[in-house]
């Protein structure tokens, strides 16, 4: 009963050609998608890798892998350079600036979104224009104002200055998010007896979560990285923040690359953590704010 040649099942040819097509598609997908993404990832990850290598390998080592691993540079930055204190200050300034920026941006954004008043467009233009003024230009006027308010050498000056610089963009972004929430929903809540504030808190605010996260994270990261204000408005060793501490690792005639890299890792950790937690809201938030603004 042998047929001599094994008969190929009917669907086998189709399956094989389908498999070839799939393989072709997969190859095309790899070439179009994964290769460019891989290259881009390599481009962005390599500097971080080098930062980790310098942070974890002993001084004087030139190996491309951090082995043997040492934490001496982290000890240097944390204990000797004073990162423990700088980190604490950065967290205080970053969190307060985040809270202040977010609260004020919601208030300002609501006004721009829901009310039509004379000069509204001009106000938006002025808000945008403030983004063109570099912080360095305002250093001396701000310094004088803070001095007369008794805020020099206080973290309060950094929180105020950073909040003020974060606000224009944050208000514009937030106004876009609020506009995306139909006013009719708010009106319905008011018809049911809510005040405007209650309607906003109960109906609008829960829908603003992506916007709040986008605005808050931008405010936090901008404040966290701000070197200029942190150095200029503070002249007390115990009130400096992380970016000032980071610059201590480069002296006039010498640079401690291990400490610089370890400091960079410590400075990057909170920012990376913030992004890791919020990234799914952030993408949605940015696109919503951009398109519907």
């Amino acid at each position: 009963m042998s047929t001599g040649v094994m008969a190929r099942p009917r669907g086998a040819h189709a399956t094989a050609s389908g498999s070839r097509r799939r393989q072709g598609r997969d190859r095309g997908r790899v070439l179009r998608l994964y290769v460019p993404l891989g290259l881009y990832l390599l481009f962005t990850v390599v500097p971080f890798y080098w930062m980790l290598v310098f942070a974890l390998r002993p001084s004087g080592s030139t190996t491309p892998v951090p082995w043997p691993i040492t934490f001496e540079h982290f000890t240097t930055v944390w204990n000797d350079i004073g990162y423990a204190m700088f980190f604490r200050n950065s967290v205080i300034v970053g969190v307060w600036s985040l809270l202040a920026t977010t609260v004020l941006a919601v208030m300002g954004g609501y006004a721009l979104s829901r009310f039509r008043f004379r000069g509204r467009s001009l106000f938006m233009v002025v808000l945008l224009c403030t983004q063109f003024i570099p912080g360095a230009m305002l250093l001396i006027p701000l310094f004088s104002i803070f001095k007369s308010l008794g805020l020099i050498n206080s973290l309060g000056s950094l929180i105020l200055a950073d909040t003020v610089f974060n606000l224009p963009l944050s208000i514009i972004l937030m106004s876009g998010f609020i506009t995306a929430v139909p006013y009719s929903v708010e009106e319905a809540a008011m018809v049911d007896g809510c005040t405007r504030l209650r309607a906003f808190l109960a109906v609008v605010l829960p829908q603003l979560r992506p916007g709040l996260i986008a605005v808050g994270s931008f405010a936090f990261i901008h404040t966290w990285n701000n070197f200029l204000f942190a150095l200029m408005f503070v002249s007390r060793q115990d009130s400096f923040t992380i970016p000032v501490g980071l610059s201590y690792t480069i002296g006039e005639y010498s640079a401690d690359f291990g400490a610089l890299a370890a400091g960079g890792v410590v400075a990057a950790v909170p920012v990376v953590c913030v992004f890791a937690v919020i990234q799914r809201y952030l993408v949605h938030g940015i696109s919503a704010g951009a398109v519907k603004g």
Partner: protein, 428 residues
């Protein structure tokens, strides 16, 4: 009611903001608090903390508040503080920006204090002269604490005997270069390149003045052009290609890999080289003398301490400055940083004579036969001319996009113009 709550919340927020981290003004009764800004905060912080501890123990009625300012931003910090009227009592200042601070009338001259002080006559005369030459009225606005000198660092296992002449230097550089990645020399092509090029050119040419009698810059002297032509020819042949963007951290890091035999920098990077290679493998020699046989060096900026005019405790501030430049303190500070003490008594300490590179530097500086070329730090445009204006042009020279002659003519013209303008402004 609700709006009252909201306003109350805002008021609490504002109060909390205003109070954050503010702790200044915690004055102890009966104590004078002075603020000291270190103009190179970071690695030097523990040194100053130790010295402040010693000072406070010797002067229990004075408390010194230390603030470390990152070196890259120190001028901007001083300018902002002066404009805002919030200067420290004592600040670390170098001759690089001394004229700028004096121009803003921010500093108190120390001549009278020094005249009555125990350290009078014990500070290196060339450093004092360099400070006085930097300002128009010749007053001592800065009390020198240290100075530096350009040297060429080399790896002893690659170069057993350092070159004594420029010809030997060029020969050694070529011989020590071996494919694929061993280089005889590294050029500083990025930030800070011009000062090093000037030091090399003047050492080679033996020209001893930055301007001739008519006020014309000597930067484009034919011998300087000759040196720069030779240096540019070395780029990529005997030096790494990446040198075109070398600032000092990159240059020091590249030298730390052990692939480069010689590197021109100053005494300040000694600790980095020791960390990378070990003290026994590192050597240093002063830039060789040129064909004239006369050793010529370009004066490095003098680093020291200034009392600010805005200080409310000038006597306590001077007391601290006097303590910092005393033999013990000055010796301790310079031993830790590996630089040349300004206090001549400290220059004789065993740690100075025991470090060959430092002894070489002190001997060269104190040798009456050494000609010192003083760069015109007093010119307001000097910093911009030697940084923003000409650093990119020097990169063009290395990349063969500009000739050395054209480059030096351009720089000379800018310096000549700046000098003429300065002379005019000061009745010259």
């Amino acid at each position: 009611m609700k709006s009252t709550k909201a306003w109350a919340a805002l008021a609490v927020l504002a109060l909390a903001v205003a109070g954050c981290g503010s702790g200044s003004g915690s004055q102890e009764p009966g104590k004078t608090t002075i603020t000291f800004w270190d103009n190179n905060g970071g690695t030097r912080t523990p040194i100053y903390q130790e010295l402040i501890k010693r000072f406070e123990a010797a002067n229990p009625t004075i408390h010194v508040e230390y603030v470390g300012i990152p070196i890259a931003s120190v001028q901007q910090k001083y300018d902002t503080a002066i404009a805002g009227g919030d200067t420290p009592d004592v600040g670390g200042v170098t001759t690089s920006y001394l004229a700028n601070l004096v121009g803003q009338q921010a500093l108190e001259p120390a001549d009278d204090w020094l005249g009555k002080s125990a350290v009078n006559g014990k500070l290196a005369a060339p450093m004092i002269k360099s400070v006085r030459d930097t300002v128009t009225d010749g007053k001592l606005y800065l009390v020198p604490g240290t100075s530096n000198m350009d040297v060429v660092w080399y790896l002893k296992d690659k170069l057993p005997e350092p070159p004594a002449t420029w010809d030997e230097f060029f020969t050694d550089t070529a011989e020590l270069t071996k494919a694929p990645d061993q280089y005889g020399y590294t050029i500083r092509g990025g930030a800070g390149s011009i000062f090093q090029v000037l030091a090399e050119m003047y050492a080679y040419s033996g020209v001893t003045q930055f301007f001739d009698a008519s006020g014309k810059s000597t930067v484009n002297d034919p011998k300087n052009v000759e040196y720069l032509t030779k240096l540019a020819a070395m780029y990529k042949k005997d030096t790494p290609e990446a040198d075109v963007t070398n600032d000092f951290p990159k240059m020091v890091a590249a030298f730390g890999t052990g692939k480069i035999a010689m590197m021109h920098h100053n005494l300040g990077s000694y600790n980095d080289h020791v960390k990378a290679h070990g003290a026994d493998k590192i050597g240093a020699f002063a830039l060789p003398a040129g064909a004239s046989g006369k050793r010529t060096i370009v004066a490095n900026p003098v680093d020291g301490f200034a009392v600010f005019k805005g200080s409310e405790h000038k006597d306590a501030a001077w007391k601290f400055v006097e303590f910092l430049v005393s033999k013990e303190s000055n010796s301790y500070w310079n031993q830790q940083t590996g630089q040349i003490p300004a206090n001549t008594e400290a220059q004789g300490d065993s740690w100075v004579t025991g470090l060959p590179h430092l002894k070489t530097a002190v001997d060269v500086l104190n040798d009456p036969a050494t000609a010192v070329v003083s760069p015109p730090y007093y010119l307001p445009q000097f910093s911009s001319i030697t940084k923003a204006d000409t650093e990119p042009l020097f990169q063009k020279v290395l990349l063969k996009q500009m000739s050395p002659q054209e480059f030096l003519d351009t720089m000379a013209q800018k310096l000549t113009d700046a000098q003429a303008e300065w002379k005019k402004a000061h009745g010259g």
